[in-house]
């Protein structure tokens, strides 16, 4: 498949950057004032590149995905920073511009297809609505494009399925239908938030392969948001690890997995049960993620880190370059040798 041809590092450095998230911060309004749930998040997505965004619950990966498309609840949340796409800053763009981008140039898919599909409309109606809101085409033309999209995501009998309702499809087929709606306008970027998490393992493998194929065929970049490092490892070129609202590591996939530079990435890898590890005791990460309201001044991971030194707790830690196109937010990134997975 494509990964071996393209190399695990993905598209070359000369490939254009499609989407650039710069210094993104997200605040939630609470009774006690504002709470910061994402801090100074920066990463790039290049054409055809698949980037995995990994982290545990509450690390800020979902709000990062939502804020790219301006989908944070208005009034309850506020985003600062820049999301550069197609010469515009999406965070500053008016709703009118975002509506032209959403579903056309950048699409998003979610974990639960039933919450993204409208149960009272046919799959076809939901496809043609998406097409006709972005292109001035006839109903007939929209229908043909919709059926082609169902065919492209591997739904058997697309001409028949087009006229069916979401409840008439199985779980795996609903996930495919949601992907068809998200990709029917051939977007440049797809944001997949835990899109394979609730699926059975054999169906999950099918959906991962489908997303890889769509990305390879159309040069579509994918931001894979997942807590499952295995899924990201199967699908992505680059791994961005988030912890407590910050990017703590950003590196080519195999570099990050085999030789992680941040103790949190290494901790996630050590926690994973695998059949290769056998019955060995798993290494868990002690302690808990600090609450956004009570973030430490220094390294946010220090209180759980077995490599922490007194200096780590003193001042905030910046991202340092650890290799070609690789960054880690660790004062000791250059001196530590952390265990990853076998090469």
């Amino acid at each position: 498949m494509s990964m071996s041809e393209q190399g695990a590092s993905g598209p070359g450095a000369t490939v254009e950057t499609l989407l650039s998230v710069r210094g993104l911060s997200v605040f939630f309004k609470t009774r006690a004032g504002e709470t910061q749930v994402a801090s100074d998040v920066s990463f790039d997505l290049r054409r055809g590149e698949r980037v995995g965004l990994v982290g545990e619950s509450g690390c800020g990966k979902t709000v990062t995905g939502l804020s790219i498309l301006g989908l944070l609840p208005r009034g309850a949340a506020r985003a600062a920073g820049e999301v550069r796409f197609g010469g515009h800053d999406l965070l500053a763009a008016p709703e009118r511009h975002l509506n032209r981008v959403r579903g056309r140039a950048i699409s998003m898919i979610f974990q639960e297809p039933m919450s993204a599909l409208d149960p009272v409309f046919t799959i076809g109606r939901q496809l043609s609505e998406t097409i006709r809101s972005h292109f001035d085409v006839s109903t007939r033309e929209a229908q043909e494009r919709g059926i082609a999209a169902l065919d492209a995501v591997g739904i058997p009998l697309p001409r028949q399925r087009y006229f069916e309702y979401p409840h008439q499809l199985s779980g795996g087929m609903r996930q495919r239908a949601m992907i068809a709606i998200a990709t029917v306008c051939h977007p440049d970027v797809l944001i997949a938030d835990e899109a394979t998490t609730a699926l059975d393992v054999t169906i999950q493998a099918q959906i991962i392969d489908l997303l890889i194929r769509l990305s390879d065929e159309n040069g579509m970049a994918i931001l894979f948001i997942s807590h499952d490092l295995g899924v990201i490892a199967e699908a992505c070129h680059r791994l961005v690890t988030m912890y407590a609202g910050q990017v703590v590591e950003d590196a080519p996939l195999d570099d990050a997995l085999v030789r992680p530079r941040h103790p949190y990435t290494a901790g996630l890898l050590a926690s994973m049960p695998t059949r290769q590890k056998g019955a060995r005791r798993l290494t868990s990460i002690p302690g808990r993620v600090p609450s956004p309201a009570d973030m430490p001044d220094g390294c946010r991971f220090a209180m759980r880190c077995t490599h922490a030194q007194p200096d780590c707790r003193r001042a905030a830690v910046a991202l340092v370059t650890t290799g070609p196109a690789a960054l880690a937010r660790c004062r000791r990134a250059h001196e530590l040798t952390l265990a990853g997975v076998a090469a």
Binding site: S4, G171, D200, T202, A205, H227, E234, L269, P273
Partner: protein
């Protein structure tokens, strides 16, 4: 149906106690019209004291129904279930209550299993009260001891479920299950909803409790990495029946059933050289349990299916000591597409 009962999986080592034993166990749910839903349709196995018996299957495989049947939460409709040498169906209500102490279950959603209006102290004391174990003072002390065992300090005793994290809630559920000193604990997807680091903590806790208390586990999950990590023996379930049963090494390194192979191949892998990029995923989806395919139930998705697979139900046979499989083509399945005989090499080679 009868040919499946011929071979009975034996305990792996000699004369260890059989805690639970299922023989051609069936759980059918009647429907208003049409044939019954055969959620569990004839499975046979023993669980021996001290082991961890893993059951892996996709949604709709019947694994949760089997879990409930094992702790008498779900009456069986055919075959036989023996718990500690006794048949629960033949017992009086009082004797059944006593027997059920020894066989406890924990579910996936720790929140759903806890009454939100009860404190942790009351929740953990409840099973002791129901079973009339100990005095009031004795129970107070027992609760703190149980919380300590599952890694929760005494400060948690007066909290309510909503004040706990997902991992802490699951620990309270474990404490509740352990309160009546069970011999066997059925764990149904107990780590599925947890973050990977919390999941690691829980898996370590299960191991520690087993070492300290001599517990026996039936560990039910859809996650192959988890089941391979915790289990001594593994059964692979599909549409209400077992496809394969064997030791952990037999199932994960030398699988004989094409479905087991497919599950191993489909599991996402972080280790670069084990990734499934060169493997074709299994096609199609699990058929409806209301209308399972004739013959072998896996045949509609099986890359090796031939005519005989539709015509007759494959026998449940012991291919090697302790290694059972129901497949007409078991063994042939071990030759990979490039002609390499994998029988001696294990499945990892198949990925290369």
């Amino acid at each position: 149906m009868n040919e499946r009962v011929i071979a009975m999986p034996r305990p792996p080592e000699g004369e260890r106690t059989r805690l639970a034993s299922a023989q051609d166990l069936q759980v059918h749910f009647p429907r208003r019209s049409g044939p019954p839903l055969r959620a569990v349709d004839g499975v046979s196995f023993d669980v021996v004291a001290g082991e961890t018996f893993g059951i892996i299957g996709e949604s709709g495989s019947g694994k949760s129904t089997l879990a409930r049947a094992l702790v008498c939460l779900q009456p069986i409709t055919g075959g036989a279930l023996t718990l500690s040498g006794r048949s629960p169906a033949s017992l009086s209500a009082a004797s059944l209550r006593l027997l059920r102490r020894d066989f406890q279950i924990i579910f996936q959603d720790p929140r759903a299993a806890l009454n939100p209006r009860m404190t942790v102290r009351a929740l953990v004391a409840e099973p002791l009260e129901i079973q009339s174990i100990g005095t009031r003072d004795g129970r107070r002390a027992a609760v703190l001891d149980l919380l300590d065992r599952v890694g929760l300090g005494p400060e948690f005793a007066d909290r309510y479920p909503h004040q706990l994290s997902g991992g802490q809630r699951q620990r309270v559920n474990i404490a509740r299950a352990l309160a009546v000193r069970p011999k066997l604990l059925v764990c149904d997807e107990v780590v599925a909803a947890l973050d990977v680091s919390i999941q690691a903590d829980m898996l370590n806790l299960f191991k520690d409790l087993q070492d300290e208390l001599g517990l026996t586990y039936v560990f039910i999950t859809h996650d192959l990495a988890v089941v391979a990590h915790v289990s001594d023996r593994i059964a692979v379930m599909y549409l209400g029946v077992f496809m394969e049963l064997g030791s952990k090494a037999q199932i994960t390194e030398r699988p004989l059933h094409p479905y087991t192979r497919a599950l191993l191949d489909a599991a996402p892998q972080a280790v670069p050289s084990y990734r499934r990029v060169h493997r074709e995923p299994l096609q199609g989806e699990i058929p409806s349990p209301l209308a399972p395919p004739s013959g072998c139930r896996f045949r509609t998705r099986c890359p090796l299916a031939v005519e005989v697979c539709a015509a007759s139900v494959p026998a449940w046979r012991e291919v090697q000591p302790g290694h059972f499989v129901a497949c007409h083509r078991a063994g042939e399945a071990m030759v990979s597409t490039d002609g390499t005989d994998l029988r001696s090499q294990g499945v990892r080679s198949a990925a290369r």
